[in-house]
Symmetry: C2
Subunit: 297 residues, 2 copies
């Protein structure tokens, strides 16, 4: 897997849609038939394992990529982390690209340790998310290892949650908001450590929420070579139109993620009484079509 | 362990010094006698396990607390995470308080999953570090679970690495720097979700680097109830005098961490030819005395 990550992602997205299903499994939300009567954590984890393996099989023909939320696995400590890496292997066998949503970040030497744990080995995802609060020094080790292994990274720039504004929209003396400043740092770093693929995008990407489309448009200008990972669609409130703001006019430049609205679709009134697999498959297909339509319009 | 975390930490620090040894094991840095001739990762991890267990035993009589850097364990994926939690148990048996340096952070529901994985269970540390880039929503789940379990958290405010300034010192239109803004958010959150112990400190603490003493003094004013976890001493360049800026006049308010300068002391010329355990023990004792002197002066 030394081909450029974004080239691989775009090739796969061309055949389906620029979307990604977020695998954020929570035991309480599992289909009733997979739950057990016990409160034993290892049985809960076994149910999550069954659910996730089947989930990957359901979405593999529909979407190009999945995003695994490691927090949901860390609830179960080392056993959960083992499942996380097993699922990456399973997803890859199914032809899916995998983003590890790990949001790691630390000072340089520690960031290098995180990068070694999460990128470039046989069970590693194709890309990870990175928290850039430590500045360039905390991002570079991920960029370096990702570059050497045909992988990618997405640095948090503007997140999708309501209370993020209190920090990320902090107004600078130079007229810029803090998130714009982070975006400029990412674009500047790209000059030194970004690897641009055949489609014009760097392996050093950014997380840009769909819940603030005006900001996404501004960030699209600041970071022309960055590929955006876009959270916020569905359960978090953003529409496909909102998501389209993260894309360029040619319909490339981003991948939209939906987690809860797809993987727990069977819990919504719209799918009541339906087989959980059918509900997930329908929700994934609708999500892909919704985004493809909005982007190609 | 429902007694307030900071009360427990201060009681222990009163008997020794307000310091913490950072357990950031890297295979390459291990004592020669513990290394193996093989490149096999599981044998490397076994050597790290031996080193860390012995390290905890060496420092337990000298310092009140240790800080485990999970990144160094995540290099070895689930097996490394298993060792991380085993070491927490071992440290606790030795009477040490344990800070899990995990720097997790995400949107609310995901932060709750991270909190469940890292706080409040039988193998969980007494406190964790949290990356607050998501704002209040990403910090609250940690504060809630920590409060319910007599644990604590330290939110990253000003980190110790050189390139952090590019983001954390971002100058605001209101005359404040970004890190001051983060500190104000933490202090404001403390009003709603902080639990203050008998010594006047909240279980909601902050990470404040020793490498910028003027900033630490300023942050001491903005966050009077926050206990500071202070990185940057030793290998990162801060002196004991620099660290003292994070403390109040009564000598409380912070705990200073040293990692590499203590745990890899045998690799420094000052300890050449010495037994590694003796070198570590001496370095830990010197570190504790250095900080105690500077703070009580």
């Amino acid at each position: 897997m030394t081909e450029h990550f974004i080239d691989r992602l775009l090739d796969a997205a061309d055949k389906t849609a620029p979307v990604c299903v977020g695998v954020d499994p929570l035991y309480d939300q599992l289909p009733a038939e997979l739950k057990t009567a016990t409160a034993l954590k290892d049985q809960h984890l076994a149910a999550i394992s069954t659910f996730c393996h089947q989930l990957l099989e359901i979405v593999a023909p529909i979407v190009p990529a999945v995003k695994l939320q490691i927090a949901c696995f860390e609830i179960y400590r080392d056993e959960g982390v083992k499942l996380y890496f097993n699922l990456i292997r399973h997803a890859r066998k199914l032809g899916l690209l995998v983003i590890g949503d790990v949001k790691r970040g630390d000072i340089g030497s520690t960031a290098a340790a995180y990068a070694a744990g999460h990128l470039g080995h046989d069970a590693a995802p194709d890309a990870v998310t990175v928290n850039g609060y430590f500045g360039a020094e905390g991002i570079e080790p991920f960029a370096k290892l990702a570059g050497a292994s045909g992988s990618g990274l997405f640095v948090l720039v503007r997140t999708s949650n309501p209370s993020a504004a209190a920090l990320q929209d902090f107004q600078g003396a130079d007229g810029k908001k803090f998130y714009e400043h982070v975006a400029e740092l990412v674009a500047a770093m790209d000059e030194s450590c970004g690897l641009v693929g055949s489609r014009g995008y760097s392996h050093l990407g950014a997380v840009v929420a769909a819940t603030y489309p005006a900001q996404a448009r501004r960030l699209r200008q600041i970071m022309p070579r960055q590929f955006f990972l876009v959270p916020g669609y569905g359960a978090q409130g953003a529409s496909a139109e909102d998501c389209a703001a993260a894309f360029k006019d040619d319909g490339t430049g981003a991948i939209v993620n939906a987690s809860r609205s797809v993987i727990f679709a069977y819990n919504s009134p719209a799918h009541a009484g339906r087989d959980w697999k059918k509900a997930v498959s329908t929700a994934a297909a609708n999500f892909a079509a919704d985004i493809a339509d909005a982007v190609r319009r």
